[in-house]
Structures are given as structure tokens and as C-alpha cells.
Amino acid sequence: MKWYEVISKIDRRIIYVLLTLFIILPFFVKITIPQNIMPQTQKLFDFVDSIPPNDKVIMIAFEYSPQTMPECRPMAIALLKHSFMRNIPIVGVSFDPQGPGLAVEAFATVVDELNSIALSREDSIIYGEDYVYLGWKSGRLAALLEMGESIKSVFPRDHFRNSVDSFPLMQRVRNYKDVAIAIVLAAADYPIDWIRYAQTRYGVKVGAGLTAVMAPKYYPFLQTGQVSGMMSGMKGAAEYEKLVLEHGYATELGTAETGMNSQSMIHILIIVFILLGNIGYFFSRRKK
């Protein structure tokens, strides 16, 4: 077999082994590959950073699933830390059936961490006062439109079956007028519905935290200003983690930033494989 045939017919199992090695290596060998902050992540961070404390709420839609947790969970954690540290109340919702469990887990992780270092009750994050998770609702188009009139009529009870009237936070959050921005953390095409129905009709600002597969679709909306800022995949999450750390809202980086070294290594490996495949293809074609 000629050399160009060898490089264009590498056994897929060899590729898998190399991929795994290149992912594992940066966890044990210190390799620092610098990550620049993309403008769309900076824009989202700046938007959240400019919301006055204890005023309007951030609505976070938890629309990701267990398989996309490596991309979307770090976004949720960084965003929750940023908002809570700035005393911006949060209202969580989900229209994806897989969202509720992951939303509860993300809230619990951040609230436990922040409450463990809180010095007083004022510093603590309290359910019903600083945040509420309203849970999952089917029929999202109707729900998105109705929330423009009354959030309470769509979610009369929260995820834990408490009446939303019992929460001080929900006394002052009536509809989208009380929402500074709705940030959709999604592994499927949910943000477009927020743009189509919540923004077009009620003018609510929409931010997005998307899996990398979905990100290209949302660049046009970013350019027109329909999306106020965006985190794209694990890279976007790592950038937001970095911004949150740099501004003193967190004490350490999250899982996305640590994963980005592996990500960069893999990209180099894939570029090498693409080059090898192409070289092999062109040489074998020339010989024919």
C-alpha cells in the first residue's frame, strides 16, 4: 500500500484513541492555550452587568438536556453567579421537558456555594426573594405570548407546587415589563420562539446561550440586535466564566474553561486529519 493510501485510510479506532488521548492530555500536562473573548459573549456580559441591582429580573430559560450539559451547564452556572453576586433577581422557566431537573441542579449548585460563604442573611440567596424556578410548561408558543400579559396565569405554581403568590419576588414580577432580559440556554431551537413571540410582540430583550451546533443560525439575529448577546458552545461558556472571574464575581474557573485546552488540542488534531485526508485524496487521484 502506498503512503498516500495509508494516510487516507486510517482506521477509525486509531482516530478515536488519538482523540481520547488529546482530550485527556491537557488535564494532566499543563498546556495553556490563550482564549480570546468573542464580542457576542462580552456583549451579553456587559448587558447583565449593566442591569441595576434589585430592580428588574433576569428570566433564564433552561432548555438544555443531559447530553448537552458540557456546553450549557457552565453557561448556567456562570450566569447565575454573575446575577446573584450583582443582586439581580432571577426567574427560571423551562419549555423543554428535560430542563427542570437540570435547572434545579444548577440553582442548587450556585446557591449552596454562595450561601456557604455568606456572612449574613442579607448576603444569602433566598428562594422566593432572590430567585424562583417556575418549572416546565407544555405549549410554549401560547405560554410565551400569555406571559407578556401575566406570568402568573401561565405559572400559577412553581416547580415545587408552591403558589407563586406566596413569593415576595413574584409580587413584583407581573409580565415581560418586569424582565430586563430573557436568556435562553438552549440545545434546540428555542431562542427563535422568544424572538418571534416574546420580543416581536412585547419587546423583551433576548440573550442566548447555545450549543455550538446552533450558534451559526443566530449570528444574523445578533447582527440585527434581536439577540442582545450570545454564548456559543463550550467556548462561549469558557469566555463567560473568564469574565465572571476577572470581574470578581467568582473565585475559580468552571468546567468549560478547563475543557477548552482539550478543545483546542482536538481542533489541531482534526485539522491535521483533514489535511492528511485531502493530501491522500489528491495524490491517489493524480496516480489514477
Binding site: Q67, P70, P100, W136, R196, T200, T224, G233, M234
Partner: protein, 206 residues
């Protein structure tokens, strides 16, 4: 290593699914079937407790008999299984299409056509920052050339041919960007799983 049995279950199931990378085997099959079963059970329970029960059956039990109408519309979907009355399925489908089209067409047109056309128009304000102006111009040329590529009523010759070829270049750049992002997404998922195996399960990384 983690003492938590749930972490062990997660790790073993992850390895079972990864075993498919070598070749199809009974461990992979077990993991796959378990996933399908658990996912179905989860969705059925979630829809029953969060949607059907509170939004329909609780209301009927409370004497709100107006809810018989959505119940009947829902039941009509099952008419498909009885050939004699299968035509009934058209009623709820018609209702859904009518409602969906009415609600979606104006919203879609406004959010995805009008605003996008607005974003493509180059104005003197686009050049306040010269770099932004150049990008605005590239977007404008890209949109026009791509639209011309999809204009099939006239043969792509002359100016039409040149612009449509430029349109193909813009489309290919778009495909390349999408593919790059897709690679990044899939690798991220693998990194996440490996972080789970090395961290919570084996305790080798923080």
C-alpha cells in the same frame, strides 16, 4: 474512586455506550435500550403530572365541563386507528394548523424577514465606524449574491452567472462555519463525558 453508586451507574453506562466505537455489542445494546425505556418513562410521567392532570383532568374533576372540548379534540387523534371514523382526525389537525399558522405567520414575517431585510440594508450610518461599514457591505453583497444563486427563472450566464458563483462562495463559507461549530459541539460533549469519568468517577482531576 467515587463511593456514590449513582456515579458508578453513570460511568458504567457511559462506557457501555462508548464500547460501540469498537464495534456493536450486547453492552451497547443494553445501554441503548435502557436509555430509550427511561426516557419514555420520564416523558410519560412528566406530561401526565405537569400537563394532562393539572390542565385537563383536574379541571374536569372540578366541574369545568368546557374542558370536554379539548378532551374530545385530543381523543379524535386516536380515530386514526379505526378506519371507519379515521376522517375525524382532520378536525384536531385542522384546528392545530389554523391556530399555528395564524399565530406564526405574522411573527415569523416580522422577526425573520422584515428585521433581517432591515439588517441587510446599508445606510450612511453603517459607515460611522469604517470597519462596521465594510462588514455591512460584505453582508449586503453576500445576501444579494446568495439570493441570485437561488434564482432559477433565468439561466446563470453573464452577470447572473458571476454573481451566482460569488453566491456559492458565500454559501460554502457558511457551510464551513457550520461544520466547524458542529465539530466543536461534538468534541465538547466528549470532553464533558471524559471530565465526568476522570473527575467525579475516578477522582483523578478536580
Amino acid at each position: 474512586m467515587s463511593p456514590d453508586p449513582w456515579i458508578w451507574i453513570g460511568a458504567i453506562l457511559t462506557l457501555m455506550i462508548f464500547s460501540f466505537l469498537f464495534k456493536d455489542n450486547p453492552f451497547y445494546k443494553f445501554g441503548e435500550h435502557l436509555f430509550v425505556g427511561v426516557a419514555n418513562g420520564y416523558f410519560i410521567a412528566l406530561y401526565w403530572h405537569n400537563s394532562l392532570k393539572p390542565n385537563l383532568f383536574d379541571e374536569l374533576a372540578a366541574g369545568n365541563f368546557i374542558y370536554i372540548i379539548p378532551l374530545l379534540l385530543g381523543l379524535m387523534y386516536f380515530a386514526r386507528f379505526i378506519p371507519k371514523i379515521s376522517w375525524l382526525v382532520r378536525i384536531p389537525i385542522g384546528f392545530i394548523i389554523g391556530w399555528g399558522a395564524g399565530i406564526s405567520i405574522p411573527a415569523y414575517f416580522q422577526a425573520e424577514i422584515l428585521r433581517q431585510v432591515e439588517g441587510t440594508i446599508v445606510t450612511p450610518e453603517s459607515f460611522i465606524n469604517p470597519l462596521n461599514g465594510i462588514w455591512a457591505l460584505i453582508i449586503f453583497i453576500g445576501v444579494v449574491c446568495t439570493l441570485i444563486y437561488f434564482f432559477f427563472s433565468k439561466e446563470h450566464k453573464g452577470i447572473l452567472g458571476h454573481t451566482s458563483r460569488l453566491g456559492i462562495i458565500f454559501i460554502m463559507i457558511g457551510f464551513g462555519a457550520s461544520f466547524g461549530y458542529t465539530v466543536m459541539a461534538r468534541v465538547s460533549l466528549l470532553i464533558g463525558r471524559i471530565q465526568f469519568l476522570l473527575g467525579p468517577w475516578l477522582g483523578l482531576i478536580k
